[in-house]
Every structure is written in C-alpha cells, then in structure tokens.
Symmetry: C2
Subunit: 201 residues, 2 copies
C-alpha cells in the first residue's frame, strides 16, 4: 500500500473544503461514539482515515486563505474562515482521541458505554465485495432507506471520501459504505455488501 | 450578578457527568454553527455559558476518577473515561472558538455562512417573561413539538442547565429556552415566551 499513500486530490475551493470539514467532523463524532459503544475497531479505523482527510482540508484552507488576503480588513474577515476550520479540526481530533482508545484496546470502561448508550441508531461499516448485489447500482436505484431502513452517510473509495452521497452515486467493488440504521437493517446491509445475501428481502 | 457567580451544583456521578458532557458538547456545536450562520450574539452567549458547565463537569470527572483508581489495572481502564471527557471538552472548546468570532463582531465571512447553510432547522433562544403563557406549564402540557413544530432541547435556569428536559419539566419565569425548529415555529415560540402572543394558535 505504501506507493499509494500519496493520493492526488482533485482541486477544491475554500467553501467546499470548509463545508466538507464541517460535515466530516460531525460524522467523525458519531463514528467515534459508536466505535466506543460497540468496541468496534472497524469504525475506529474509519475515524482515523477521516482525520487524515480533515487535516488535508485544513491545510488547503490555510494555504488558500493566505493567498486570498489582499489587505488588512480582508485578512481580518478571513480569520473567521481559518478559526472555523481550526475548530472543526479540533472536533475531528477529539473524535480521533476517542477512536484511539478503541484501537489501543485499553477496554471501554462501562461508564463510557453507559454515557453513549443513547445512540439509538447504529453506525456501521460495510465493505462491498466483488460478488455483491450492490455492484454498479446507484444509491437511487437501491432505495436502501425505504427498503431496509439504512442511510448511507458516506462512501470511501480507497482514500477518496464521498460525504452525504447523491442518488446518482454508483457503488463499486471495494467501496466502503458508512451507514446509519437500526441493527436489523445494518445486518442486512452487511450481508448484501459481502455477497452473503443476493437480493433485498 | 457578581455575588451569584459561585453556584452550588448538586452532586453528580461520573456517569451522569460524562453523559451530560457528551450531550452538552453536541448541542454546543449546533448552537455555535447557528450563531455563526445567523450572526447571533444571543446564541453565541449560550455557547459560552455551556462551556463553563462542561469545564465544571470535566473537573468533577477528573477528581472522581483519581479517587476511584484502586490499582494500576483500574487506572488504565479509567483512562478511557478521562480521555472521553477530555475529548468532549475539546469539542466544547471548538464550539466556543466559533462562538467567539460572533462575539468579537469580526463579521462572519460569506464562506463560513455558505458552509453552514445546510443547517435547515434553526436553533434559537427564547427568554420566558413574567407574563408569558408558558409560566408554570409543563413541557408535556404544552406539546410544543406537535403544536408549533418546535423542540425544546435545553432549558437554562440562571446557571443550571436541563439538557433534553423531560415532559414533567415546568417552565418558570426567566427560564431560557434553547429550541430547534423551522423559522415559523421559532418566531411563534419567541412571541409566546415574551408574552406578545397569549395563546397558541
């Protein structure tokens, strides 16, 4: 995997980067809490993946904002942008801190689990295998929310993230789906992604 | 107000404190984003109030965890509790960083507003005046969600916070309601809290 560590990202505007940072940091908190609640190293690993993305976006914003400031007044207004970027980065770090406990296998103290128990809907990760029913189908076609009560909130394709993917998004082999739903639906999603289940019930 | 700065808090367990920290930090992020989106110093001030509460809860947890550790293994497990507490504190700090931009009146850059625009439902603060229709009524009686589409997510009574208040919670004079809802419902909530509107339509 070492040679693919450095990924070329497509160009992105400051507005897009900030919006993505906000959305990603929110998903990261949910993922981190779920990873602690269910002691899930899978979810904790996704938190760590997302943290890299947030760091990259923060860097993009810092760089672009520096280039954009034309005068002192401009620079003052732009501090709002860098402050918000730094704040979402802080949120992302906090999520990573929680995920790190899971990855270190310290053991989640019952107090932590109790505090996170209100998380009613489960977040889960499902990897799309080559023989999955999902391959080459769009999210719109699949209607997972209506059919199995599961909402795909993000798709990771190698190192590229699609946050809040559109109905037109096509699922490909090896995609990693991050989804939210009731436990029964999540089980079905996993079985469909792994190819264990061939059609939606 | 100086003499009332030091408030006696009721005793609270580590589990309760951690649950509250988690819930409060989540509300703070929403409040901070809304304060930036609507350039609302009112909401920004509530974020700052909540940050004090989170700091206090973090202190309670740190102290109790130290007293609870009986041996090395125990201490290791308890680090999960302090790490999670520190992480929620970090999230709360991030929210306060965003609120501080609003309070400093730097001006919210359009890029920030665009990034936060997806916040569909509005968060708002409403102060209950002495002649309000709400006085001495419980949230259960009022059925605000059903009647005006507004969800009271927190009540502040001087320095005491009630997060996710129950149906039995009675609204008193000077209570500060933090609510989430569509703009029309929020306007109605404000009019009812201020006494401008005498009955629910």
């Amino acid at each position: 995997m070492a040679e693919s560590e450095k990924v070329e990202y497509r160009p992105i505007s400051v507005r897009e980067a900030l919006t993505e940072m906000k959305d990603v940091s929110e998903i990261m908190i949910d993922l981190a809490y779920s990873s602690a609640l269910f002691n899930s190293t899978e979810l904790a690993e996704e938190v760590m993946e997302l943290e890299k993305r947030v760091d990259y976006l923060d860097y993009i914003i810092e760089m672009n904002v520096m280039l954009a400031a034309r005068d002192a007044e401009d620079a003052e207004h732009l501090t709002a942008v860098t402050t918000v970027a730094a704040a979402t980065n802080k949120i992302s770090d906090a999520a990573a801190d929680i995920a790190a406990i899971v990855l270190k296998k310290i053991g989640i103290h019952p107090i932590v689990r109790k505090a996170f128990q209100q998380v009613e809907e489960r977040l889960a990760r499902a990897i799309v295998k080559p023989n999955s029913f999902f391959i080459n189908k769009t999210l719109g076609e699949l209607e997972l929310a209506a059919k199995i009560g599961v909402d795909v909130i993000a798709i990771r394709r190698h190192r590229e993230w699609k946050i809040d993917p559109s109905d037109e998004e096509k699922i490909l082999e090896n995609d990693v789906l991050i989804a939210r739903g009731a436990p029964h639906g999540i089980d079905e999603l996993n079985d469909l992604a792994s190819g264990k289940l061939k059609v939606m019930e």
